[in-house]
Symmetry: C2
Subunit: 239 residues, 2 copies
């Protein structure tokens, strides 16, 4: 009986839980991540305590530790979210014969992922209080893998003139910075449009010196390939 009552959606008697209305039906783990993301970006990682997080979610600190190994565990998961979607796709890209189309796809989806991550958490790794943590070192290693993937794809696309002027890792860094430019766009208050995601993907090919005609072919091959590779076809290309 009392169990049935607690499943009832109407609030029961007693102290109300401090759950924001929009998060009421979310998984507690996801609620903790979302609230932490907001607080870390808003007031800094060092400036946020597990108590702040627990209070904002409306749970006890003990419940927070049931889901995460404290603040570092939450940070690790948030940082991972900024690189994992792209890294997971690198393997799939081997199935695409054109390195230009593969680079277009990776850059587009990586930028899209950063453009839609809650509270623009792509900003976190650059903060000193974050960048000196062991979790940030793990993140840096994962970002390094991604940079290498971009650099290696970029070298496959690049002409001799490009490889003469830019080494593989610098090329990877330049492409990754083009992708991460959406973080800055969001930070300055603008939303990132689909046309801009296309602009990022196309620019990553330009950085590799791919001529315009080939860029247009690559974008078309990418749109055709994506339907076969991933279950849900994203809205690619300019609108």
């Amino acid at each position: 009986m009392s169990s049935a009552a607690s499943n009832n959606r109407r609030p029961g008697p007693g102290r109300p839980r401090h759950i924001p209305a929009s998060d009421t039906h979310a998984d507690p783990r996801d609620q903790i991540l979302a609230v932490s993301a907001r607080l870390f970006v808003g007031q800094g990682y060092a400036g946020t305590s597990t108590r702040d997080i627990a209070e904002a979610v409306g749970i006890r600190q003990a419940s927070l530790y049931y889901h995460f190994a404290g603040k570092p565990g939450i940070l690790a998961e948030l940082l991972e979210m900024t690189v994992r979607p792209a890294l997971d796709r690198v393997g799939d890209l081997a199935r695409i014969e054109s390195p230009e189309a593969a680079l277009y796809l990776l850059a587009f989806h990586d930028a899209e992922s950063l453009a839609t991550l809650m509270h623009n958490i792509g900003m976190l790794p650059a903060c000193p209080d974050v960048s000196q943590t062991p979790e940030a070192r793990e993140y840096a290693a994962a970002r390094g893998q991604l940079r290498e993937a971009y650099g290696s794809l970029g070298i496959s696309c690049g002409s001799q003139a490009v490889t003469d002027t830019v080494a593989m890792l610098q090329l990877g860094e330049l492409i990754l910075n083009a992708v991460e430019s959406v973080i800055g766009t969001r930070a300055s208050g603008d939303t990132v449009t689909n046309k801009e995601l296309h602009g990022v993907a196309v620019s990553s090919l330009r950085i590799c010196g791919v001529p315009q005609a080939q860029i247009e072919v690559a974008a078309k091959v990418a749109v055709a390939a994506v339907g076969q590779m991933w279950l849900c076809q994203p809205d690619l290309g300019p609108r």
Copy 2:
């Protein structure tokens, strides 16, 4: 007599001042900036007090306030240092007829400035505890001017295909991100070579779709122009 004694370089009796050996002959204002840069980047802006700064410099807090309007005044000056050298050069560039050479020069010198700034302070603006300050809003306005200068130069260089895919401000953001890639390179512990600065400048032209042959001409025009424009000719081009 006592004044002559205090001018003597040999340490007198009494409590020694906590000045790091390397900074002993620096201007107090510069010492405060250098120490603050190290502390802000190392332990965060919010995590550093004016007391920490004064102690690390080896002066009293009152002396610090003689030179700066507190921590915000120091932050404002450090943030300014990350954009001012490039903004100051934008005006000079009007004298260069080739927009490609002008963009090469601006990107090269901006990247060089970020690559040599003490303690990689280019990292500061991205931190939440910094980005929410009034000083960061002033910085954002200055960076916005720089982005516009890059975007406008980029549009002058870009082909129709480029302007069809990337709007002026996004182009500026992409070029600025290529320039700022040296901040990430330094953050991961690598020094930025002259060849990499050339790589950044060349990549900024590639982002605008400038063909390779024109890029090579632009780099040569830039090297020739710089000697006439600025007193000290930097070491341009690949080694």
